[in-house]
């Protein structure tokens, strides 16, 4: 049969010459290649001490962003939950009361927002669906744990801390929508 990929190599039983049967030139060439690699940059890195750089689009643990004034961006519209293929997101919406304008940007907000990190497949569709630039996936990793229930992340773990803000500018490469 003809090979479809046309990459098949036929083994040849060619008889070696005397020089070839000594193996010395081939061994020298092989040692030379090994020796050359001693002066090249290592492909590996020293894991615990050195940290590898993440891709700017790495999809790790989610963050619920606040705006410049510290108000939560999320309005509990539910688009992330309907986009989620793993059914990992759930939320309860509440109405903002007078006097809470400094906490929430719009008149509706998520009083409960939960992501089940065991269900989540980190596909980033929630981030893509979000019309309010509220949810982003970050380069942080979800820490391991022995308790299944501890993987249901609520607002306490997801909403960003104002004193320790998470930079997502690299992810916002698409720019604002609706402008031309």
């Amino acid at each position: 049969m003809e090979s479809l990929s046309n990459r098949k190599k036929v083994v040849s039983n060619k008889k070696m010459t005397f020089i070839e049967s000594l193996y010395i030139p081939v061994i020298a060439a092989g040692m030379g290649l090994t020796f050359k690699h001693m002066f090249q940059k290592a492909a590996t890195y020293r894991s615990p001490e050195q940290k590898r750089e993440f891709s700017p689009y790495y999809r790790g643990m989610h963050v619920l962003k606040r705006d410049e004034e510290g108000r939560e961006n999320c309005t509990a519209c539910g688009l992330c939950a309907v986009a989620c293929p793993a059914e990992a997101i759930t939320m309860v919406a509440s109405e903002r009361k007078p006097g809470e304008e400094h906490l929430y940007r719009e008149e509706k907000y998520a009083s409960i927002y939960e992501i089940n990190m065991l269900r989540c497949i980190f596909c980033g569709l929630c981030e893509e669906a979000c019309p309010k630039e509220a949810i982003f996936l970050t380069d942080r990793l979800v820490p391991s744990n022995f308790e299944r229930q501890s993987f249901v992340y609520g607002k306490d773990k997801l909403v960003e801390d104002m004193n320790n803000r998470i930079d997502i500018t690299k992810r916002q490469h698409t720019g604002k929508r609706g402008k031309r």
Binding site: T75, A76, C77, G78, L79, A81, V82, A93, S94, E95, E106, E107, K108, P131, K132, R177, G178, K179, R180
Partner: protein, 324 residues
């Protein structure tokens, strides 16, 4: 009977039918969108201009084209009339402009609005609008207000279709709300802060094409696409009791009238099946309703996400033999 051609589709309709209704009788995608016209409400239509069509030939006797685009919800057909809707470039261009004008003062707060997912303005702008806005000025804003204890009015979202005014005028004994002021300052308002109380005033929520009038008992409870609309009925002394209940599991989140594909309340027993406020706001106990079954939803609607009844099921689903 008069004969009329809409986008190449020939149809015979009764004399006095409007172009819009003739197109609806023919069905399909030649039907112009309508934001303010409502079959069950007398005098509605002619306000939003989203149903503009081009009349290429006025009638058989006088085949001259009408110089301007006509509002199809208010123009009656004549024998031999030739109408162009989606085949006319002028109409497509005008509709884009109308959509832009309707959105000028619209806050575009769909993520917050309870109407999102079943909103006529969303559908209109998705189909006929453009994805950017040229409007740079400040939008006019009003504070959200309560109309009675069950209805919330978001004047920002209103497109001035007057449907709710017609509902109050024609369905209830007394109308205490109407449109104040003129131009872009006009607003729907109740007479001296008087609450609307009447057995049928809840229908203003159903007729509102946008999220300007919403149900306070359902306010921010869920989104429409997470709920499953079910046909249900009950014995009601006030109304026909034919409604759609929006369920999540075995819980009723809200009750609305049964809307057809033009988001108008369906007709049952020869009458438009308006539902009363008791059915709408106070009857959310599953035991009080007879659930008939799931409603048929357009498969391209966001409401049909994760639901199993589709308007156009795949051929294989219609005929299980084809699966083999």
């Amino acid at each position: 009977m008069v004969k009329v051609t809409i986008d190449g589709v020939e149809i015979e309709v009764e004399e006095g039918t409007t172009i819009l209704n003739a197109a609806r009788q023919a069905g399909g995608d030649i039907v112009p969108p309508a934001m303010c016209y409502y079959t069950g409400l007398e005098g509605s239509g002619g306000k939003c201009r989203s149903c503009l069509v081009e009349v290429a030939a006025g009638s058989e006797r006088d085949p001259r084209p009408m110089p301007k685009l006509m509002a199809s919800c208010r123009t009656e057909v004549q024998h031999g009339m030739v109408v162009k809707n989606k085949t006319s470039e002028r109409v497509i261009d005008a509709r884009e402009g109308v959509t832009e004008f309707l959105l000028i003062n619209h806050p575009l707060d769909c993520p917050i609005c309870d109407q999102a997912g079943e909103c006529d303005l969303q559908d209109l702008s998705f189909k006929h609008g453009v994805e950017w806005s040229r409007f740079e000025e400040e939008k006019r804003t009003f504070a959200p207000r309560d109309i009675g204890d069950k209805i919330k009015l978001h004047m920002n979202r209103c497109i001035m279709c007057y449907r709710c005014v017609f509902v109050a005028q024609q369905l209830t004994n007394k109308r205490v709300h109407g449109v104040l002021n003129r131009g872009d300052r006009s607003e729907i308002s109740t007479y001296i802060e008087q609450a609307l109380d009447s057995d049928f005033i809840g229908n203003v929520i159903d007729v509102c094409p946008v999220g300007a009038l919403t149900d306070k008992t359902f306010r921010f409870k869920s989104r429409v696409w997470f709920l499953k609309p079910m046909n249900a009925h009950r014995d009601c002394p006030t109304c026909q009791g034919i409604a759609t209940v929006w369920m999540f599991g075995n819980e009723i989140y809200r009750v609305t009238g049964r809307k057809d594909k033009y988001s108008e309340i369906e007709r049952h027993n020869g009458k438009t099946a308006w539902i009363c406020d008791t059915c709408r706001f106070e009857t959310k106990d599953v035991a009080k309703w007879v659930i008939e079954g799931p409603r048929i939803i357009n498969r391209y609607s966001v409401i049909s996400t994760n639901h199993y009844t589709n308007e156009n099921p795949l051929d294989a689903k219609k005929d299980p033999k084809k699966l083999q």
